[in-house]
Symmetry: D2
Subunit: 335 residues, 4 copies
């Protein structure tokens, strides 16, 4: 039985980690750490966990040793925090943005502050089993990519060699990506029904996509009406016809447990839509070809395959368990 | 030309007052007063007013004299504020809860604090032209009822004498009623898609309904997925058959410019639904009879007929203008 | 291993039955029967089942014997269908409205047609384990109540003896209750954001509530913005204080695996909200007391505890398996 | 007083035309023609027009002469219909797709059928006053562009000469663009919360954009959760810096009554969002620059500036009235 603890356990990613770990037959939860709510019941913050657990949040300084430690803590703060807690666990799986970009100058360009733990930057293995399964099996430091980055990476990876280097990514996201802290912009009356282009250019996840795919990726990001869910539509140029493209996707993902190819000719569900994926660990990928333009599409639940689910998948790989353990929920239709 | 100013102009009711007044041919706006944003452009807070006005928010201590002053300021604070600004205008139209209940003990029961301007309490005329048109025509102090109260009062008024004294009101509301200040509960990810019974018993608007209708009203209130819109479903018991009930509604509202009777036998739009009423000053009322049980239904836009629109309607009555001036927008379908 | 088949498998309840049965360790699916789509893959209609199954829909005349047969077929048609397929399975669990009301005159009053299989009417055991666990353990014919009826029955049952006989129920529901067939009224542009009182009086589920609780129940039903989810707010009158009421709920539901008491003093999640319950088999129940008025509230996912989940729970009880098998999904937050 | 009639008056665009014309001080409505509902009251189909009009739908063969005839009739059917009704009015303003593309081979490529009224194709003036004001002032045949085309054309027009010829357009749309006829894909339970890429490549509006801007436009279109509203995000490449781009927009739109430049540095409303524009005739345009990449954004209400509002604006231009007459509604916030 693996003992796993969660820092940042009161946030949305933290809550999703707790949900998945509580349903995981090979894991027992050590601690759920929260700076805001130490001493409070976990289910008072995550009401979907009522009757699932009597767990109470621990304060950060109460953290004790465990096998796997998840840090679902804020960007910019995690680079200070992580070196301090690293010795508490054999494996640390970080869900923040702080260890995703190995080049500190790139980090600074996208996060606006210098990195303060540069010595760790190139030790982390990206939490994408589809690309780094072997490395993850022995990694002690794992960094789960951003939700839109994971979607775009899985959409684009099969196109390497088939299209030119420039890709334009249009990402759309629900509101849960902004986290559980209230601000004027995510007030319901303001955010409901919005199509808010919050990053017209240079969304920071583009840097991760470029690094993990080799493409020169540009990303625009828009908040649309949804709580969960991310979709990316990626535009590239190349000579490959539809058959070639389909073959490339099949070769990459034919054996993957959590990537489905969704590229049908007709029907309301012919291409990836995150609406189907709430709570599930699938990333659906699809594509369409029009002459020399190739559109690649991916969808996932930002809190699951785009965060907590990918992290648990990494735990499974790292600890030698079945990769799908605890991740069997298929999603709901309709929802 | 009537000169009207708005206090609390940065809130949602304040913004709606400004929208209506900017489109009103008989009014010019004096000042838009805000404690939070003095010196900022009004359209930086109310982006739907871009290209409508170059108005800038004034600080409260910059308030100068005007003909009509609207106070769209918070409950509990307004009872202190209003006596101080009363002399700034010939007529004050208050949209807060502080002058709706003439009995200070009732106020204290529902608002949790003692009233500090009790001498004014029974001077205010309720801002319901359908009930108090003559009084409003000469009123210097007007108090617009709560949005759910207005809906329930208009739904129930025709039933006086036809049903027994006890009425149970089930009110549903969108999120804009909570105002423009962010809090954990109205974060989009929390509030979206919710059915949140925030007042299982004793919603404070029930006291206004009892006062204005003579019924003994009990009100439950639930937040449902919507930004604008209030609907009340009122349950009463009596002997009246459907024809009698319909006649009563016709007698009350046949000549009313802003109350429509919506009680059809079939169709998706057979009964009042606030979805049709966003931006409009209508209150739609309807009913159904089943033996001795009578269900009365009303819907309105909480920010218009449930607030700013009713206030402008009162201004029209008070200043002797056509009652519908500036209030002609009929609502959108579909939306 | 229990062999279970589903008739009406292309509908929303049918799809949810398939999802639950595919994840059930003690069941194998025999056939998924559909009159509309025989020969088509199940996942072309229920896209959340992609990669879960290669099952293909069977035509009704291809139905073969199984252990448990679920009929998720339309009201009025099922009373003709069921007698014909009854011999195909040891146990038939019906999710239609046709065998919920033992009195044929009540059926005719609420469904508008005479019942044509009256000889079966009083053989069916209601699919509410919380009330009929012992009978269900040996029942060959089981009828799952309507979604709003189950919610109201579970909300009201503990109040028997504590309040008077008259209860008024305000039910709210998402759009999936209307089924998977398109009509003008459930077009997205019409239904989105609506508060549609589709049954101002005499919703047919009230007859089930009266029968199963002994109360004289009246039900109003409103469609609100949601796909899944039902909430009922029930108004009753009595002398019991809050402590007595809480004790009654605890006595009834202390040992129930799928009923949670949610009645807190504060917080956005203080009372039952179906938003938390999508995909889960919980029915959350809560209450509030104001003098002699008692408000009881319940929430559930209409397709799970209000339909397919309750049916699987009944299968578990009937076949002597653990009652919670295959029903472990706790729901998502936020969603 | 201009006498205007509407064919296709029972559709969503038809309803919006009626709403705008009823509020237009210089127009009286002649007939509202519907094939589906002749003889029925207009407000039974467009419930927001209750108390606005007693108009009844006419059958198509009852059409009599008027000054301006709007054809809000289906694609592919209108090319047959229009030549037959052309003589009924001095000016015909068509809202269908049939007369937007002057080259019949392009029409056939995008609409899948040969054009049957090719002699009319190059007589129509595009209904974009911002580009064709002088021509519209004397046009007898006007063709209003597609909603996404209008948005993209207004977003891109100022960039001509500043960026290269290739533009990639990512369009997002609400559900009302699919019209008022129910189908499986626009059932609420299916469409709600969706991110549905219904045109991954080659959305037909791209042909209009290419024609009206001179760019080589490619368009992807996605249905997102909204009833009204279209947003386009256009990607282009060029050397212009932000100041140059801003100047170009100002030069084009400084005097335009219905185009606002929304390109701020911060805030939830810094870029165009259709959420603010429901019911209004504004097209908001904005942009951002990142090195050699330029992102242009536009938002509008597909039924107003993307259809009925643009058509009324054309009527105003054509009949020599003030261009803004009847189009004063500014939109709502919050909504």
């Amino acid at each position: 039985m693996i003992r796993a603890s969660v820092m940042g356990a009161a946030g949305y990613l933290g809550g999703e980690l707790l949900r998945l770990l509580l349903g995981h037959p090979g894991v027992e939860i050590g601690q759920a750490v929260s700076t805001r709510f130490p001493g409070r019941r976990v289910d008072s913050v995550h009401p979907n966990l009522r009757a699932q657990t009597d767990l109470v949040f621990s304060a950060p300084d109460e953290l004790v040793r465990c096998d796997v430690l998840f840090t679902a803590t804020p960007h910019r703060a995690t680079m200070t925090l992580l070196p301090r807690v690293r010795e508490k666990a054999g494996t640390v799986i970080d869900l923040s943005g702080d260890f995703r970009l190995p080049d500190p100058s790139v980090y600074e360009r996208y996060y606006g502050v210098p990195h303060t733990a540069t010595e760790l930057l190139d030790v982390f293995v990206p939490g994408v089993p589809e690309l780094f399964r072997d490395e993850l099996a022995k990694a002690d430091l794992i960094s789960v990519p951003g939700c839109m980055a994971t979607a775009a990476v899985l959409a684009l990876r099969p196109l390497a060699g088939l299209v030119g280097p420039d890709v334009q990514i249009d990402a759309r996201t629900g509101s849960s990506g902004s986290g559980a802290l209230a601000g004027d912009g995510n007030l319901h009356a303001e955010r409901s029904g919005a199509m808010r282009v919050f990053a017209p250019v240079r969304h920071r996840h583009e840097a991760e996509v470029s690094r993990l795919t080799g493409f020169d990726a540009r990303m625009t990001a828009t908040g649309v009406e949804a709580v969960r869910g991310v979709q990316v539509v990626c535009h590239a140029t190349g000579d490959a016809d539809e058959r070639t493209v389909r073959r490339a996707y099949r070769e990459h993902y034919g054996g993957e447990p959590f990537v489905r190819i969704v590229a049908h000719r007709r029907g309301a569900h012919r291409l990836p839509d995150p609406k189907l994926l709430s709570g599930s660990n699938y990333c659906d990928v699809g594509f369409a070809v029009d002459g020399d333009r190739i559109t690649a599409i991916a969808a996932l639940d930002n809190l699951v395959k785009g965060g907590a689910g990918a992290a648990v998948q990494c735990l499974n790989v790292r600890t030698g368990q079945s990769e799908t353990l605890g991740l069997g929920f298929p999603g709901l239709h309709p929802l």
